[in-house]
């Protein structure tokens, strides 16, 4: 529906896989930073005059 590739990630991580968890979080953070802030899927405040 128009969410950029790179913003959504899926992973299976067992509670024993702490290093994998760290790796995935790093990769996700990098990928999401690269796409930039999600401006679209944010409710804009109504402007009150």
């Amino acid at each position: 529906m128009g969410v950029e590739p790179g913003r959504v990630h899926f992973s299976w991580i067992s509670s024993a896989e702490s290093t994998k968890f760290v790796d995935v979080v790093k990769k996700v953070t990098e990928a999401v930073r690269a796409v930039g802030p999600n401006e679209k899927y944010v409710k804009k405040e109504l402007k009150v005059a």
């Binding site: 128009g2 899926f10 992973s11 899927y41």
Partner: protein, 315 residues
Amino acid sequence: MQAYTEKMREIARRLLKECRVETVIGFRKGSMPMMNEPCLVKSIDDVDQLVWDGNCGINLANYLTNRTDKIAVFAKGCDSRNIVTHIIENKIKREQLVIIGVPCKGMIDKRRIRSMAPGEITEVVEDGENVRVRGADFEKSFPRKDMLQSNCAVCIHRNPVIYDELVADLVPEQQNVDRYEDVRAIEAMSPDERWQFFEDLLAPCIRCYACRNACPLCYCPTCFVDESAPQWVGKSQNPVDVRTFHFLRAYHCAGRCTDCGSCERACPMGINMRMFTKKLEKEALDQWGWEAGLSLDQRPPLDWYRPDDPQDFIK
């Protein structure tokens, strides 16, 4: 179509008389042209209300949810697939049902016909290959095949997949249909274009939930949109809330939707929200070769695990 109607009344009368069922679920004429409404017939005296034509696009499986009586229900191809889904999901028991199959010739698109008529329509009659539309000062005729609902134009399961008896001979299924041209066009867009496409598609939505209410799949006792503790989605008409409602509803229909078109038909704003469910329908077909509601013996992809499930997206 008159032959269908006659046969339906005959079957309904017989089933009620023999006490095989307590209720017959079918259609009767609505108060306006092209607006047939579902009706529950419980007495032989009311059997003559039943009608059939190209305006019976509402999905009757929706009226079976959690019923406890013995029911006869008329089922087009799509209704029958939703009945199968209902049985699989324990919303009705097969033993309660007498399924009267209705080989379907496609439903006509009331909005298209209204848009092509020069004034207010007072009567719409289908005679074979044509649809005749009458108003106070005009009369027009359209080829029926050009006036089908968009989902019916690409339907490949017009014959009921499950039935106890039929109102007519089976119809030939449409061959070589490209079901997903519209979905592919959206897939080909850039993320920004796609965002804008759905922004425009949903802009007229008034959150009336007619689409949800018309859908046989939407039977949760409390829908996520009505829940207030926790509140999953804002209740406003803010585009973000509207979009959240639509894509979540679509996900709840994933692997279950039969593209019956009830949702789109019910929408007072003429929104084609099927563009969400159809994408998921295509996905279920591509990923698991799955089409919803074709058999009572197969579990749907989303309540089943297979070691060979595609999972390339999981990193």
